[in-house]
């Protein structure tokens, strides 16, 4: 019974998705379409169509990196709601290097832009990290509020100092085409950024499994007092985890510019940073699973466009489905709390049991 429960719990993301799709089908019915047909169109368009799959990969890249930017600090018990802002600042740094650092060979210039983007995200994340580490100011609120600062700062920059001359809409000049990221699938928009994301996810998985840094992060998250006792610096880990997370999100913004849009737009991110939270939770905070959850959410997004074109169903239905996925994953976490409550009860039981065993053992001697 216990093991059945455990397996069911581990598959909670699958249940959440299925439930969300089931409720979503009611919405599709209400919109006057056949849900089975609609879903078939959606998933076929997202995963079994060359162009559609490419579109999925384009969306997957920022989703995955933003998801990892949420996963990493959470291992140390810290919430990074600020991936959105880190994406903007990362993209800004990358665009500045792309536009204003001249005379470099293409590949080197790409690397430099990428590093600048990562640095931008990391520096933006450093603000809440320092406030958290040394002043105990809630990182959730600071990261959330800094998103708006970043969004509007980038808006200001691209509608003022960095605005393309005569542009009808706030955006920067296009970056040199030597900086365009190579394409992963020929004749599509799918670029190499998503591969960088996958490599980072796999590395993070290994570090979490076997790495000393993964262990110290987890220890800080699980018991900061014991971490201090073990000689780990809690403050250092708060700062490090946030800066690395910020760098991931900064990369997401960088690749949007270098791989997809080729210029910095006002409000270009469309909430990838927030969707990263969905990716992280759908993946159960596992970097390996984040690859799949980012692929899934990306597919949902690109398939929605397909569904709209083919069947006239508004993409808002898919947004609702994504919202439902979050809702059900969140609801399943309530089961986790219950599961841990059960786990605690079992723990107490075993504790007493072993204490009693100990006594019986003593009696024999």
């Amino acid at each position: 019974m216990d093991s059945v429960y455990r397996v069911m719990f581990h598959l909670r993301s699958v249940w959440a998705i299925l439930l969300a799709l089931a409720v979503g089908s009611i919405l599709i019915l209400a919109a006057g379409s056949n849900p089975i047909e609609a879903y078939a169109t959606l998933f076929k368009g997202a995963f079994f169509d060359y162009w559609g799959f490419a579109a999925t990969l384009v969306k997957m890249c920022p989703l995955l990196l933003a998801g990892l930017a949420v996963v990493l600090p959470l291992r140390a018990g810290l919430f990074n709601i600020g991936a959105e802002g880190q994406i903007y600042i990362g993209a800004l740094f990358a665009t500045i290097v792309a536009l204003y650092v001249p005379g470099l060979p293409g590949p080197l210039h790409i690397v430099l832009c990428t590093l600048a983007g990562a640095l931008g995200g990391a520096l933006w994340a450093l603000i809440p990290a320092l406030l958290k580490a040394y002043q105990r100011i809630n990182e959730i609120i600071v990261t959330l509020l800094l998103n708006f600062v970043a969004l509007h700062f980038v808006s200001f920059v691209v509608s003022g100092p960095m605005m393309e001359k005569g542009a009808p809409y706030p955006y920067s000049p296009e970056i040199p085409d030597t900086l365009f990221l190579p394409h992963l699938l020929a004749r599509t928009d799918a670029h190499y950024g998503v591969l960088v994301g996958v490599v980072i996810a796999l590395s993070l998985y290994v570090v979490f499994q076997r790495g000393v840094f993964g262990f110290t992060l987890a220890t800080v998250g699980r018991n900061p007092n014991a971490a201090r006792y073990a000689g780990m610096s809690v403050e250092r880990h708060i700062i490090l985890s946030f800066m690395i997370a910020g760098a991931f999100a900064g990369l997401a913004g960088t690749f949007e510019v270098l791989g997809h849009r080729y210029r910095l737009f006002h409000a270009f991110s469309q909430g990838y940073g927030y969707d990263g939270i969905v990716v992280a939770f759908l993946a159960g905070l596992n970097p390996l699973f984040a690859i799949f959850s980012a692929l899934f959410i990306g597919g949902l997004r690109s398939g929605a466009n397909m569904m709209q074109r083919a069947m006239g169903i508004e993409t808002t239905v898919v947004e609702a489905i994504q919202g439902l996925v979050i809702l059900f994953v969140a609801a399943s976490l309530a089961f986790r709390y219950r599961a841990t409550a059960i786990g605690r009860a079992i723990a107490r039981r075993q504790e007493v049991e072993e204490a009693l065993d100990g006594q019986t053992g003593d009696r024999k001697t």
Binding site: A226, Y229, A230, G231, R349
Partner: protein
């Protein structure tokens, strides 16, 4: 039947496969002090929680004055005249005594009649000789007084049966006497008292009847006059108990640990240690006595590097280590530390036994190289510690949460002692352990002494200190009151120092 104020009949309560209470019968005569004696895990707390309405028994019934009652919440318990003083007080620190007592009373209307309540509480307090100012803020009262507030609260709510859970654990030895007198006065006023304890001498001092529990069952229920400590101990533990650990003769060596005028603050920034100076020699156990919260935790933390000092110096083998990091103190300097609260500081409960076993050396060879762990080395290390310290577990990959307190403490001891430390700081190492585990821990500490380790042994349990220490110092509000050689350290003398009375 009617003679019994309270009767529990065939109470059974199971948690899964474990039967915490197995057909327990408890009969308490009206107007008596009835001790419930047993080790940790014997089922005392479960039984009291059932009586107080926190747990629902699987079977059995509760009778008050011969009438069956159902108790499914503390509120109902109080309505049946049953009140409980928990080991950790349930008081709101920044409210006054009156406010705390009135808190949660129903039928108050919109406006609270503070003056009326205060007057009645004052009268009640006087009639029992409690000497409590109802207008005082609770946080400003000493612990012993807070305990009286808890009792007064129950009396004011018309409780007839008072359950006191380990009431003496927060008192100094000198406060225990007056507390027992108070119990007598309550008894004389017709109150019935259930006194939960694991201390034999208290049973003999104050109880009329005693019920001994072990393994969830009642092993004996006798009049206190008809028994003696030795037979109670035998019944409680289920075997013959030695009241002394083995101590071999030994000689002490050079001074290893030295504190020179150390002053430090606590977490709230208040002064916790004031100019504390002492030295501990190789092969010596220096005990620190004192009521909990008089600077013991801070003392252990400044020595191990978890807390910085405001002034003063800490030296190990003559070298000033005041500014040295936690990991260097643990590693190169060999300062082992058994923290007071193993769940808070000593262990990561969500981690495996093997991971906890390397908590202090996780980044060193052979456990880690180039930033990655060597799982085989970690597993071998854990297996060796488990074998050497006889830790009872299912697997080294099991979460340490699932080990018993005694076995968790063994993992900590094993981890701290295996590197052959020069200094051992043991803060309340026997806290919450049963008699068997206490013996083991104390024996390990004495073994380290014989190896020539300088040991600082902090405990609030005077008997344990006197069992293992060569010298005892007493901390009172952050000051080291005095230091006594073991031979001169009588409970009376230490008790006075613990209460802040200089000898």
């Amino acid at each position: 039947m009617a003679d019994y104020k309270l009767a529990l009949e065939n109470i059974t309560k199971s948690f899964g496969a474990l039967t915490a209470n197995d057909a327990v019968n408890l009969r308490v005569r009206a107007g008596t002090v009835h001790a419930v004696l047993g080790e940790n895990g014997a089922g005392k707390s479960t039984l009291m929680n059932i009586l107080y309405g926190l747990y629902k028994p699987d079977s059995g019934r509760i009778l008050v004055d011969g009438q069956p009652v159902t108790v499914s919440s503390p509120k109902e318990a109080l309505a049946s005249g049953i009140g409980m003083v928990h080991q950790h007080f349930m008081l709101v620190a920044h409210l006054t005594v009156t406010e705390n007592i009135v808190l949660g009373m129903s039928g108050q209307g919109l406006m609270l009649d503070v003056a009326g309540h205060t007057r009645r509480i004052e009268d009640l307090s006087k009639s029992f000789g409690f000497d409590i100012d109802p207008g005082a803020e609770v946080i400003k009262l000493p612990i012993g007084m807070q305990q009286r507030v808890e009792i007064l609260k129950l009396l004011y709510h018309n409780a007839e049966i008072l359950i006191l859970d380990e009431p003496t654990s927060v008192l100094t030895p000198n406060e225990t006497g007056p507390f027992f007198e108070l119990l007598h006065r309550l008894k004389d006023a017709g109150k019935t008292i259930i006194f939960i304890t694991h201390k034999l001498e208290e049973v003999m001092a104050v109880a009329d009847d005693v019920t001994v529990m072990q393994d969830g069952k009642v092993r004996a229920s006798v009049g206190a006059a008809d028994t003696d400590p030795a037979s109670l101990a035998r019944t409680m533990v289920g075997r013959e108990v030695l009241f002394q650990v083995k101590r071999s003769a030994h000689s002490t060596g050079e001074t290893v640990l030295e504190l020179d005028g150390v002053t430090a603050g606590n977490d709230r920034g208040l002064k916790a240690l004031e100019r504390v100076s002492f030295e501990v020699r190789a092969g010596e156990v220096f005990g620190i006595a004192g009521v909990d919260g008089n600077g013991q935790t801070e003392l252990a933390e400044v020595i191990t590097g978890l807390r910085s000092v405001d002034s003063g110096r800490i030296l190990v083998a003559g070298k000033d280590i005041t500014q040295t990091s936690v990991s260097r103190r643990a590693g190169e300097l060999g300062i082992a530390y058994v923290p007071e609260d193993r769940h808070r500081d000593g262990l990561v409960l969500d981690d495996s036994v093997a991971q906890n076993a390397i908590l202090r050396t996780y980044d060193q060879a052979p456990f880690a190289s180039y930033g990655f762990f060597n799982r085989q080395a970690i597993a071998d290390h854990a297996a060796r510690l488990v074998r050497d310290f006889d830790v009872r577990l299912q697997s080294i990959d099991q979460e340490i949460r699932y080990l018993s307190g005694g076995n968790q403490q063994k993992v900590i001891l094993a981890r701290e002692l295996e590197a052959n430390p020069k200094v051992l700081v043991a803060a309340q190492p026997t806290k919450g352990l049963d008699v068997g585990a206490i013996e083991f821990v104390q024996q390990q500490i004495l073994n380290q002494r014989d190896r020539g380790v300088a040991i600082l042994y902090i405990s609030t349990e005077l008997e344990h200190l006197l069992d293992v220490c060569d010298r005892v110092g007493v901390l009172f509000s952050g000051r080291l009151m005095d230091t006594l050689a073991a031979a001169d350290a009588t409970p009376e003398r230490i008790g006075l120092l613990m209460a802040g009375v200089a000898a």
